[in-house]
């Protein structure tokens, strides 16, 4: 038996198929992955993501420490509630993890991945020496993500009127706190929606209320197809400790200025940036295949750079339920043209696009 979230029984009640996910018993799908996917694109769906790791950071040096720990700069969080996506790098410029950091009234809240929990917490402790900072893992909190065009209205219908008004007014990538509830306009689907970080004991009742007003339970299977359509990276697939954020389409999440800010991995990623400009480090792009078939992680990409045949690899691939053909993220040499993917020995032509396929229910690439 793996770890279980406070919503485990609710998943069983909804006929979930449970799988092991990083040591947790999680719902991969309920009835149909594709129907769950469309429910989020067209209406509203809810994801139990309580397996993810909430870490609160406080103390006099909280800001200075995060400016050292993260490749993005928490100085960009000019007001309470603002959120920032960042990589946490090792000295070689590999990605230890990707995370969201929220500024709170006092201190900061980080949400990091599930499979990297122990490693991340050890990494944070190891690099906290000399800083006045407290790092608190919050396993007693549940996270429910509610996403889709109808999601915010539905959640707000369950909140007290004053809180609902504040949530309706919340900008993207912003959070507010109401008592013990932390409500954020963040997510992993490319749709409008909220992530609610709440005490575990509140989660089952909230789930039931959302179910009653027509919010559909969504498994990890559809979570993956949704995030891939949105062109969002998945840790351990599109990047890891040996992949530079520069080679993972994360250059925009690195705050280079001020040049005096010495974050972990800075020297390495500065070198990677120059290497990529010289064509020596690959880039992460989107692939589209309109023929029949499905692009899968690990498949070989064959392409041409300056008349020479070169290779890349698919890091995430799926059938896109919204577009009704296959899409993928792939790491390929800079300047590649004429791309093909090796599917069971056949080279199938694919198109290179920006790694962003669907936003707010609609196709976004040319």
């Amino acid at each position: 038996m793996g770890h279980r979230t406070p919503l485990y029984q609710k998943h069983l009640d909804a006929n979930a198929r449970i799988v092991d996910f990083g040591g947790w018993d999680m719902p991969i799908q309920y009835q149909s992955l594709i129907e769950e996917h469309h429910a989020v694109r067209q209406h509203a769906g809810m994801f139990d993501v309580s397996h993810m790791t909430v870490v609160d950071v406080n103390g006099a040096d909280a800001k200075a420490w995060l400016q050292y720990l993260l490749a993005n700069d928490v100085d960009r969080l000019k007001e309470t509630g603002k959120a920032l996506y960042s990589a946490m790098l090792n000295a070689d410029g590999g990605v230890v993890d990707d995370l969201i950091v929220y500024r709170r009234q006092e201190g900061y809240r980080l949400v990091v991945n599930c499979g990297t929990r122990d490693k991340d917490l050890a990494w944070m402790q190891q690099h906290a020496k000399g800083f006045q900072v407290s790092i608190t893992y919050r396993p007693e909190l549940a996270i429910l993500a509610v996403h889709g065009p109808e999601s915010i209205d539905k959640v707000c219908s369950l909140l007290a009127p004053d809180v609902a008004a504040s949530v309706q007014a919340l900008g993207n990538f912003k959070a507010l706190e109401s008592g013990t509830w932390f409500i954020a306009r963040t997510g992993y689907t490319g749709e409008r929606g909220l992530e609610l970080i709440i005490p575990s004991e509140d989660a089952p009742a909230l789930w039931d209320k959302l179910l009653t007003i027509g919010v559909r339970p969504i498994g990890l299977g559809a979570r993956d197809t949704l995030r891939l359509e949105a062109g969002m990276n998945l840790y351990g697939h599109d990047m890891n400790e040996s992949i530079s954020p520069i080679a993972a389409n994360m250059i925009q999440t690195i705050a280079w200025e001020p040049a005096s800010r010495q974050f972990i991995g800075r020297a390495a990623v500065e070198k990677h940036r120059a290497q990529q400009e010289a064509g020596e480090l690959p880039c992460l792009i989107g692939l589209v295949m309109e023929e029949r078939g499905v692009l899968r992680e690990g498949l070989r990409v064959v392409c041409t750079v300056n008349g020479q045949e070169r290779e890349g690899v698919i890091t995430s691939g799926t059938f896109s339920p919204t577009l009704k053909h296959s899409i993928a993220l792939a790491r390929i040499p800079v300047g590649s043209t004429d791309c093909h993917v090796d599917i069971r020995g056949k080279l199938i032509p694919v198109r290179i696009v920006k790694p962003n396929f669907v936003r707010f229910g609609a196709k976004v690439f040319e």
């Binding site: 149909s32 992955l33 594709i34 499905v294």
Partner: protein, 127 residues
């Protein structure tokens, strides 16, 4: 819970076989197989008219989650294929033993049928 209809024969690789009155056999994939695969999005159909041997790959099924080879449960000639699966592969999810059939084979060696599992035998290996 998967269904395992009586009266069909099953291969351990999750294909089913139904012997028709004219001696040909209809082939499809089991309810258990479609459940494991999840939503099916593409099917590469067997080749009409091909002579196939038992355990030979005859088809590929792609679901959102995975690609899976389908094997001939019996040797013979493929005399019919289910074209409807090209445009509507999801029929295999909704009706694996009915409208979601893959092909019909005229067996070259009927004794191979005895090597297949019955419903109970197949249900046991799916546990």
């Amino acid at each position: 819970m998967s269904s395992f209809p009586e009266g069909l024969k099953y291969a351990a690789t999750h294909e089913w076989v139904r012997v028709e009155s004219d001696g040909s056999v209809t082939v499809g994939i089991t309810d258990h197989a479609q459940e494991l695969l999840g939503d099916i999005v593409f099917i590469e159909l067997p080749k009409l008219g091909a002579d196939v041997s038992a355990k030979q790959e005859i088809s590929v099924v792609e679901s959102v989650k995975a690609a899976s080879d389908i094997y001939a449960p019996i040797s013979g000639k493929i005399v019919a294929i289910n074209d409807a699966l090209l445009d509507s592969p999801e029929i295999v999810n909704s009706s694996p033993y009915g409208d979601g059939w893959f092909c019909r084979i005229v067996p070259s060696d009927k004794s191979e049928l005895d090597e297949l599992l019955d419903a109970n035998g197949y249900a046991e290996i799916c546990e």
